[in-house]
């Protein structure tokens, strides 16, 4: 029983972190209809940035977050404005290919700069954990999960309460109409991608703090996780990624306890496919996004 509780607690904190990886991904997908296959590579870029700041200036990863977020926002803005906007109206596999190529460029540059070793950001509190009865939750993971929650709530507030959020939603719903209302779609798209990249960088930093990362396997795994979570949670709702992340995190850690080998991965994929067939709008997403037909 206590094993199960421990697995569930771990699943919750891991799920929050996974949700943070996915929230930017699902934002870009929902607003621009672009599946960003370089999302994992952007997250790992953020992780390296925080790792460098920690290595050279001894900066705590949580304090490095604003720097990472701003740097990746600027990078994301430039990418969208200069590159992705060029093919935004193309058939889906073109945007998929473009972001795939972009991901290859980013992660191979990282690999050439820092080699393929596993890295982690060392902190003094890495080994300490909060004991709740028989359940132990490491402080780092707890803080990362809390941060994920706060960022999601903050993002939802920005999207529903500010002028910027309204223009992002409006452009996502009907770009033509939004432009007629005086919204600069190029700029709004670039800001959206910038926010997504910044969130990816923050998530990458957190992953580097509570675990380890490398430029070869981590980006692909993160992108795939973001994929699954966005579908599970659904698009068009900022809390979708968080809900999807929690479901995946808990399912994986509890499933890993019950099932042998890597059957849990097969089950996760079966759940993904069933979700798509039975409820393509995800657990709490808006149906409008799943009915969208792309040519």
């Amino acid at each position: 029983m206590s094993q199960l509780l421990q697995a569930a607690a771990y699943g919750v904190v891991q799920g929050g972190l996974l949700g943070l990886v996915a929230v930017g991904f699902s934002l870009v997908w929902g607003v621009m209809n672009v599946i960003n296959l370089s999302h994992g590579a952007l997250a790992v870029t953020g992780a390296y940035l925080a790792w460098l700041l920690n290595l050279h200036f001894g900066l705590d990863p949580f304090l490095a977050l604003p720097v990472v977020a701003i740097a990746l926002f600027l990078f994301g803005y430039a990418l969208q404005r200069g590159l992705i906007n060029l093919v935004i109206n193309a058939p889906i596999f073109l945007t998929l290919l473009l972001t795939f190529g972009l991901g290859l460029v980013i992660l191979n540059s990282l690999q050439l700069l820092f080699n393929a070793d596993d890295r982690t950001i060392e902190t003094s509190y890495a080994s300490q954990s909060l004991a709740l009865g028989t359940v132990n939750v490491p402080y780092g993971r707890l803080a990362a999960c809390g941060l994920a929650l706060a960022i999601t709530v903050g993002l939802a507030a920005v999207m529903t309460r500010t002028r910027l959020g309204h223009s992002i939603s409006a452009t996502g719903m009907d770009r033509g109409a939004a432009r007629l209302m005086g919204i600069r779609a190029r700029h709004v798209y670039a800001i959206t991608f910038g926010i997504s990249a910044a969130l990816a960088g923050v998530a990458g930093t957190m992953i580097a703090t509570v675990g380890s990362f490398n430029p070869t396997t981590t980006p692909g795994q993160l992108t795939l996780d973001a994929f699954v979570i966005s579908v599970l949670g659904g698009l068009g709702n900022m809390y979708g990624a968080l809900v999807g992340g929690l479901v995946l995190g808990i399912a994986e850690s509890v499933g890993g306890l019950v099932l042998t080998g890597t059957w849990v991965n097969a089950i996760a994929m079966a759940v993904l496919i069933l979700t798509l067939i039975v409820r393509p709008s995800g657990l709490i997403g808006k149906a409008q996004y799943s009915g969208r037909v792309e040519v």
Partner: protein, 354 residues
């Protein structure tokens, strides 16, 4: 969102590339026989080439032929029918594992195992195609990606049968070998035949009534259904033919590799390569995937040999540049340029930019 392409054709405002292509094929009945002659000449030429090259070059060209078949297969479902599958590698891995399990565990010959792999590919395509082909766009892409990842995990965990993560080995010499190993010249021939057959099958399908049905489903599925096309069966058949070709490629690849692991034959980069080759060559045509597969595989081999650790970086950059400058594919770009007597890369960028 904009009006459907079919509506645009009816209004006469814009004629999409595929409609023009269909017209181009209709008005050139001779081109059918020319294409057949070109295929036979190409096949004979590659047989001739085999006589003068080193075994190492044969191995390299075998890989090129395999990707020609894979690209043609992806083009059937992704290019003609317009369903961008990101899980075609599932058929590759399935074909490889059916072959290896039958040859290793049941001691069947390769000539029985390969048809079984093809049958397995068709069966799997029908099983997952029926529910998944109801999804569109990104959702179909992810569902097929999930199916491929899921099938790898199933193979990975069926350790008693497949050897799981420890891999599987096909016995190739002595009394244990159900079929003697082909060697480099044998696999060159096998992949060459597969490539030629897949080009022929695609060309025949594309110019048949069924080919027009695939394009119609791509252009406007509702309208295609309204004019009496059974869209479900068109989609499932296109998916199954594609799956059969990929499974056959996986089967030969398995025998060539002798020993492999689930992560080798279910590697998502196979799918990505198929997509890239079709898109860069030009989707929805026969020549496009052929040019894309040959060009890209030779290029990536060249980069691997000459640029060492920079090869993936350059490869990624090339993908980005080609997607931006040739979004309709190299073959379609030059065909349009020839027809309109106008070459402009700027037109290409204007087409899809915001």
């Amino acid at each position: 969102m904009s009006a459907s392409p079919l509506a645009l054709i009816l209004e006469g405002r814009k004629r999409p590339g595929r409609e023009l292509l269909a017209e181009w094929v209709r008005t050139r009945r001779l081109s059918n026989s020319w294409a057949a002659i070109a295929l036979v000449v190409g096949f004979a030429a590659m047989l001739g080439v085999q006589q003068v090259i080193e075994p190492g070059t044969m191995r390299l060209l075998s890989a090129v032929f395999m990707f020609v078949a894979l690209a043609q297969a992806w083009n059937l479902i992704g290019g003609f029918t317009g369903y961008a599958s990101f899980g075609q590698v599932a058929f590759f891995g399935l074909g490889a594992y059916i072959t290896a399990v039958l040859m290793n565990n049941s001691h069947l010959t390769f000539w029985l195992a390969m048809p079984a792999a093809i049958a397995g590919g068709v069966l799997f395509a029908v099983l997952i195609g029926l529910p998944l082909l109801r999804l569109r766009g990104h959702y179909f892409a992810i569902a097929t990606l999930g199916a491929a990842e899921g099938s790898r995990e199933v193979i990975n965990n069926m350790t008693p049968v497949t050897g799981g993560g420890l891999g599987i080995t096909i016995p190739t010499f002595g009394d244990q070998a159900p079929t003697p190993y082909f060697g480099k010249p044998g696999f060159y021939l096998a992949f060459l035949i597969l490539a030629a057959l897949s080009v022929a099958v695609s060309a025949l399908l594309a110019r048949s009534r069924f080919g027009y049905a695939m394009v119609a489903v791509h252009e406007d599925e509702a309208a295609a259904g309204a004019v009496g096309i059974n869209t479900t069966s068109v989609k499932v058949i296109a998916f199954a033919v594609s799956g059969a070709i990929v499974a056959c490629a996986g089967s030969i690849y398995a025998f060539q590799q002798i020993e492999f692991y689930p992560s080798d034959v279910f590697d998502p980069s196979f799918t990505v390569l198929m997509v890239i080759m079709v898109v860069i060559g030009g989707s929805g045509s026969i020549l496009g995937p052929l040019v894309g597969a040959v060009g890209l595989e030779l290029l990536s081999q060249f980069l691997r040999i000459n640029l060492g650790s920079y090869n993936q970086l350059i490869f990624g950059a090339i993908i980005v540049v080609v997607v931006v400058f040739f979004p309709q594919g190299v073959v379609n770009f030059f065909r349009d340029a020839w027809r309109l007597r106008r070459i402009s890369l700027l037109d290409n960028i204007r087409r899809y930019r915001l």
